[in-house]
């Protein structure tokens, strides 16, 4: 049971972690270059340099900031306002670095078969290809205006179903509505400028699979982000010159548009760490070149943060990893209980069988031979227990979604009625044993009747308890793959602790004096 518990829990948590990691890489690429508030100028040129690296598959600029989003609901003047993480992106290049295009949720079914699998009330059944195109370009094709894509959980209008699909709640189908985004430009000196707001039509919604992201993030076109945050190309004034009659300084050039981050995707088979080193070198070379050019109106920051996706998402991944390790350690403590149980049971057996051990020694059994008898039993218990534990864990993990579904649904009437019938049979057995007057049988039948009665009552009253409600959590199914490394290590641990538990009584058995055992045993 201990092995089954450890393997089941750790397998499911490892599955979640893998899911999180896979999703994480898909949403930020392999390497992230981040600069301060002032942003990175000449990002277009740096992107060209990056794309020239042999291990780079794609790179995309982006602005990452925070903002307030005024939702279209409820009706009336008091609209709901929510804080969001704003990603101003170039959607086309973003799709080469992340899974952005695939993560767009509202899209028509790919084919007739897929459409047939969708529920009748699924809005995707009636969508046209246009909504997907609008999402991919962040342009509302109907008006040509820049659009916004919201994380699927930003709006409360999306109600998640058990199959992982969404239905508009309270009639709020977001791609038919506008939202108002307010952002606060911050100067390179950290001073806050006048907040700026813009109304965007919602062109699509994004489902990355990570709730934290889908709950907070919105996507707008890069140009709009740069403009709203005053990171776009702007005239450069000579503040040392005399202003003209209208108080304007002479324009001596333009400052380049800026971004705050660049996401880079590695080619297949290239590690994130290897790419990170290449990107760092490329940036050093690029900034040196730009800063040495006297014709440039802006200089590159002396240093930028270059992180791998794992380092970037540390805040998301680390707690889950810690939880998994905590689980592993806590559940592994059960081994000590197992070893203690085997020790106490075997100790009692050794005391009970002292005379028999003396007999074995008298017919030539060696001390090691006597020790081996108990160690062998410990080993057999360990091996059998571990094998059964792994088997049980495999059965549970492989069927965890069906089990989860069963727990989350009403018990079928046939099951609970059948349980009551079985309780009735047990009650008859109880009455019969009372008539026969055998105490042990009375007790066993009584226990069976009570346990079965409780199970039947529980089933009859059970109306479904979803442990991981898909409408709350970001995943649609519980991971159902056994973590075989954990399974093997846990099974070996089970065997080792069983043998350790058996070793102490086995040593005592080996130390028994045969004469004493035969005389007094």
């Amino acid at each position: 049971m201990c092995v089954a518990m450890v393997v089941t829990v750790v397998s499911v948590m490892t599955g979640f972690l893998d899911m999180l990691k896979n999703s994480g890489r898909q949403i930020v690429g392999d390497v992230i270059v981040s600069s301060g508030i002032a942003g990175l100028p000449y990002s277009d040129e740096f992107l060209v340099d990056l794309k020239g690296l042999k291990d780079v598959q794609g790179a995309t600029p982006l602005i990452d900031t925070i903002g307030l989003l005024r939702m279209p609901y409820p009706r009336g003047n008091q609209k709901e306002v929510t804080h969001v993480q704003v990603w101003a992106v170039d959607p086309i290049s973003l799709a080469t670095v992340t899974d952005y295009a695939n993560d767009l949720y509202w899209k028509p079914a790919e084919n007739a078969a897929a459409a047939k699998e969708m529920a009748e009330d699924d809005p995707r059944k009636n969508l046209s290809e246009k909504i997907l195109t609008d999402g991919k370009t962040l342009i509302q094709s109907k008006t040509g205006n820049p659009g916004i894509a919201l994380g699927i959980h930003v709006s409360i209008g999306n109600e998640r179903q058990r199959d992982g699909s969404y239905r508009p709640r309270y009639g709020w189908f977001m791609p038919e509505n506008d939202v108002t985004l307010t952002v606060v430009p911050v100067s390179s000196q950290g001073k806050i400028a006048e907040p700026r707001e813009q109304i965007f039509p919602v062109v699509n919604e994004v489902q990355t699979g990570i709730y934290e992201v889908d709950h907070n993030r919105i996507y707008i076109p890069l140009k709009e982000g740069q403009r709203l945050l005053r990171l776009d190309e702007a005239p450069l004034y000579d503040l040392n010159a005399e202003p003209d009659g209208q108080g304007r300084y002479p324009v001596i050039g333009t400052t380049p548009a800026r971004v705050t981050k660049i996401l880079v995707r590695a080619k297949q088979g290239v590690s994130a760490n290897s790419l990170r080193a290449q990107v760092e070198t490329a940036y050093a070379s690029f900034s040196k070149r730009i800063n040495a050019d006297p014709t440039r109106n802006a200089s590159m920051p002396d240093f930028v943060n270059v992180l791998t996706w794992e380092q970037q998402l540390r805040d998301l991944i680390a707690p889950v990893e810690k939880e998994r390790e905590m689980m592993r350690v806590l559940f592994s403590l059960i081994y000590l209980v197992c070893a203690g149980l085997i020790l106490s049971i075997f100790w009692s057996i050794v005391i009970e069988k002292t005379r028999d051990i003396g007999i074995l020694r008298s017919v030539g059994a060696s001390r090691l031979g006597v020790m081996w008898i108990f160690l062998r039993y410990g080993l057999v218990i360990g091996v059998l227990g571990s094998a059964l534990g792994v088997l049980l864990a495999w059965l549970v993990v492989r069927n965890i979604n069906a089990i989860h579904e069963a727990i989350g649904s009403d018990a079928p009437p046939t099951i609970w009625i059948g349980s009551f019938v079985l309780t009735g049979f047990f009650a008859i057995g109880l009455l019969y044993s009372i008539w026969r007057g055998k105490l042990l049988r009375i007790l066993l039948w009584l226990l069976a009747t009570l346990v079965m009665g409780l199970i039947a009552t529980f089933l009859a009253l059970h109306h479904g308890t979803l442990i991981w409600d898909p409408s709350v959590y970001y995943f649609t199914s519980v991971p159902d793959q056994v973590d075989w490394i954990t399974a093997w290590t846990t099974a070996i641990g089970g065997v080792v602790f069983s043998v350790i538990g058996a070793a102490i009584p086995a040593s005592k058995a080996a130390d028994i004096d045969p004469v004493e055992a035969l005389r007094y045993g």
């Binding site: 074995l360 020694r361 008298s362 060696s366 045969p514």
Partner: protein, 246 residues
């Protein structure tokens, strides 16, 4: 004592001894009180002899048998016990285990059969605990043959708890003989049986002795001792008399 010395001398003149105990002393400590059970016991047993060790309760008969059987050791500097010229009182580990397994067989007053094993499994136990990979099939054959000759072939699958006292002792003798030992050590083999059944057991032992088995039997019953070829009397921890049985 003079008789005893003569007897030892006479036997040693005929053949070399199989078991030889000289000046064996054994002291047990019961808490802080040491009790000397054997205080310089001498015994020489030649191949083919049936020696009965006679003595009252507490005279050290069983202790002597345990020492001869390698289950216990004499005190430090407490004499020497040799089997076939080789000292066993200073042997350790494998050598001593092998001695108990192959060279001797033990029969106890209270049978000491393993209750969870069948008659057949009990009989072949020495073959199972020794080098069982090689000996198991031989032990199986030998146990089967012995139990058959002891009239227990219909009881092979029974547990010891399902047998009479005489049957249990016969199983114990079969177990003691399964590895064809050269010496059988019997500790009051009839002590727990009625007279008639005890006679049957003694007949069985006599039969094995007639086939060449060396027997050392401990008893407090002179009538039982009379079946042996030689009787050794033990008193105050010493062999005080050794004489041929009448």
């Amino acid at each position: 004592m003079a008789d005893h010395q003569n007897n030892l001398q006479n036997h040693s003149d005929k053949t070399s001894p199989l078991i030889e105990a000289r000046g064996v002393r054994k002291t047990y400590s019961f808490g802080a009180v040491p009790v000397e059970v054997l205080s310089g016991a001498d015994l020489i047993v030649h191949p083919g002899e049936w020696v009965a060790v006679l003595g009252s309760s507490g005279s050290g008969k069983s202790t002597l048998l345990h020492l001869l059987g390698g289950l216990d050791r004499p005190d430090k500097n407490g004499g020497e016990i040799c089997f076939d010229g080789q000292p066993i009182s200073v042997s350790h580990g494998k050598r001593l285990d092998g001695y108990r397994n192959k060279d001797i067989g033990f029969v106890f007053q209270f049978y000491h059969l393993l209750p969870e094993l069948s008659v057949f499994e009990n009989a072949m136990l020495p073959g199972m605990v020794g080098n069982w990979l090689t000996n198991r099939s031989e032990a199986r054959k030998s146990a089967s043959k012995l139990l058959d000759s002891f009239g227990l072939s219909h009881r092979l699958a029974h547990r010891p708890g399902q047998l009479s006292g005489g049957e249990r002792q016969r199983v114990a003798i079969a177990r003691a003989l399964v590895n064809s030992p050269r010496v059988l050590l019997a500790d009051e083999p009839t002590g727990n049986l009625d007279a008639k059944t005890g006679e049957g057991i003694l007949d069985l032992l006599a039969q094995r002795h007639a086939n060449g088995l060396t027997l050392i039997m401990v008893t407090h019953d002179p009538a039982v001792a009379a079946r042996a070829t030689r009787v050794v009397k033990l008193a105050n921890g010493c062999v005080v008399q050794s004489s041929a049985s009448e």
